[in-house]
């Protein structure tokens, strides 16, 4: 009975997503008529091939804005939003703690450090920045996992603590980079990168992220019932016939990979991975069968709308991380208040 009600909520999330997508096509400096949008969407495959083969001349101005700026940016926002919030949902389930966010294992700190190093290298390309960021993010998680392994207790708490350790270690590295950075050129770049933005979105980025998010999501979707069992704790999972260790490590690896890709491509966007799974859990319950798709849908819409605000609220673009914090923090406070009698979850 409740299951049906909750499938309806996922339907509503889908409607919100579509609405947000349509709204985003019209958000921006240039006014574009609905007819042009429809026309561009119809011609989409042809135009995409043109763009990827470097032939920009055949495009109209409207098509150019939509195809080169808005569409890749919309898609990137959807992918990053879905990726972050689904990873958040998975992490919260694995760590049996609704207050865990995807960067609990130090991924974000590692990524930030990597990116700052990338920005410090003279004449480095954007590609190099992302590559450094991605690699350092995975290094941080790897370190946290290795440390937890050598402690030799299977307790999840140890993993959280080692995550805190690597997180603060990489944060310290990041601080060192900041102090030695050139205060006129490099430092502002680092600061803006950390605040997160989708403004650099291109088709190349978007198409790089796409397979990672799709594969990652598919894995989570397949294992979503297992996540319920893992969220009961190791002992119960074992007695119900599931060996938690291998599966947990695998899921952590997958979500860390997703987060590293997201953070590497658009900086640290906070709160999405913490608040969105929370909202979904409050609405449709803790069952991961609904929580995983629900988090993906709502996370995607949330980041898309946040990005719309970021690019249209002021004449200059606001950092995306600022918008997600400004929305996420009060929402989280409200959830805290609303769930006060239900215990945490």
């Amino acid at each position: 009975m409740t299951e049906k009600v909750n499938t309806v909520t996922n339907l509503i999330f889908t409607v919100i997503l579509v609405a947000a997508g349509i709204l985003s096509c019209f958000t921006g400096r240039m006014e574009i008529a609905p007819g042009d949008v429809v026309a561009t969407i119809i011609r989409f495959p042809v135009l995409l091939v043109d763009i990827l083969s470097g032939d920009y001349n055949s495009l109209t101005d409207q098509e150019r804005v939509l195809m080169l700026i808005r569409f890749p940016r919309i898609l990137l926002a959807l992918l990053v939003g879905a990726g972050l919030s689904v990873s958040g949902a998975v992490y919260q389930g694995l760590f049996r703690n609704p207050l865990v966010s995807p960067d609990i294992l130090g991924v974000a700190a590692g990524c930030t450090f990597g990116a700052s190093v990338g920005l410090l290298v003279p004449g480095s390309s954007f590609f190099l920045v992302r590559f450094f960021s991605f690699v350092m993010g995975l290094c941080a998680v790897g370190m946290a996992l290795a440390m937890a392994r050598s402690v030799k207790t299977s307790r999840v708490l140890v993993l959280v603590l080692t995550g805190v350790i690597t997180g603060s270690l990489f944060h310290a590295f990041f601080m060192i980079v900041k102090t030695i950075a050139d205060p006129l050129g490099q430092l502002p770049a680092i600061v803006f990168w950390v605040m997160g933005s989708l403004s650099g979105a291109s088709w190349i980025d978007t198409l790089q992220i796409l397979p990672v998010i799709l594969v990652g999501y598919t894995i989570f979707h397949l294992f979503r019932y297992r996540l319920n069992v893992l969220s009961l704790g190791d002992e119960t999972a074992k007695s119900l016939g599931v060996n938690p260790k291998g599966l947990r490590l695998f899921l952590i690896a997958v979500s860390s990979f997703m987060i590293a890709v997201c953070v590497a491509s658009c900086g640290q966007i906070v709160w999405v991975g913490l608040v969105i799974p929370h909202i979904v859990r409050t609405i449709s319950g803790p069952n991961h069968r609904l929580l995983i798709p629900g988090s993906a849908l709502l996370g995607a819409s949330f980041l898309l709308l946040a990005d719309d605000i970021a690019r249209s609220a002021l004449s200059s673009e606001l950092p995306l991380g600022v918008i997600t914090s400004l929305i996420g923090a009060p929402v989280f406070a409200w959830l805290l208040y609303k769930n006060k009698n239900k215990g945490w979850a």
Partner: protein, 440 residues
Amino acid sequence: MMGKKTVLSCRNLGFSYQKKKVLENISLDFYQGEFVGLLGRNGAGKSTLLSCLCGLLSADFDRLAIEGIDLSKAGRRDIARILSFVPQEHEDMFPFSVLDVVVMGRTVFLGSFGAPGKKDVQLAKEVLAELQITDLAQRVYTSLSGGEKQLVLLARALVQTRKIVLLDEPTNHLDYKNRYHMLAQLKGLSRDHGSCIVACLHDPNHALLFADRVILLQEGRILLEGRTGEALSCDAVSRLYGIAARKSMDDGLMSILPAFVHPAFKGRVLLLVGRSGEGKTTILQQAVAENKGIRFGGIICPGIFKNERRYSSEVQCLCTGQSALLAKRTQASGNDPFVFYDKGQALADKALTASGHRESDCVVVDEVGPLELKGQGHAPLLAPLLSLEKPRHIWAVRPNIVDEVCRRWMLVDPVIVKVSEGDALARIHDFLFNKGDTHA
């Protein structure tokens, strides 16, 4: 149980936690269709044993097999299809609905990517109905009371499998009705479904009423195991828990209650109080010599004194008259400790074993000292002695530990006689012949 199929067996199972041995040398067999009660003090290793038996903790063993499957080679899936485990309810989780929690018992029958279907939900509902908790189905698990949670966890285990069900203190947090409801359900499972039920129980009376067999666990070792009626004697219960317990029969129903609640237990113990060397043993010897009509048992420990302190101690069995050296100091002075001798200790243990004193009139223990308060020395034998209905008891005690001794063995209105008082012998005589006894 002969002829019934063994479903779970272990040989020489042991488990250490941080170099401390929690379980040692456990060899057990569990059969189809029996309800086994696991009894023991807090911290005796009951929960650990259950966790080891289902492979949640990795124990050392020569052999551990579930239905012929070697547990050291079996995967969790193999085990979970045959054996389910009901933990204590304290596990915290997300606010799943009760139905969700119960359906999760089906996990082992689903593929890695599978989710429970209609049949699984239907089965879960049937089990909820069987346990009479259908009305909880849509409630949120985390909002339930401890007792309700316990029943839900049992439902989850039954949805999983009924072949072997291990339960860690299933009656915890349950109210009077639910406690018996739970136990009766478990009994029914073993009787009607051929399930093998192994449960930690706290109350020996529950074991008496429901368990076919009991295993008494003491400090990680098996103290005793056997069919409930035979194994669960007053002596065993007293020894196991360190509190004197007595049986009573009512309409053919046996129950075990602590001795101190029995009115007849009042004033059955005389504490002969005196400092070291003040003459406790001498007075006891005189009392035994003067009261020939009384059948004495137990021990007195005459000793040699050097430099105004006990140098050596002999033990004398009052039944047989045998004596042996119990302990001796290494030096005549200084703070050197006693060295104990096996022969003397064996004699003392034999002389104080409760089963030898069913017909004794008076059991003398010389003495109940600091060692006993630490649970060593004669301590394990004292509770079983107190559980006997016939004999009175005379314990020699030092003045500074009288209160502690009374509390530790829950003595009710003990007769306290000081060695320094002139009429000590006369008062012992009165005690032995019931004089001054309020309800004689």
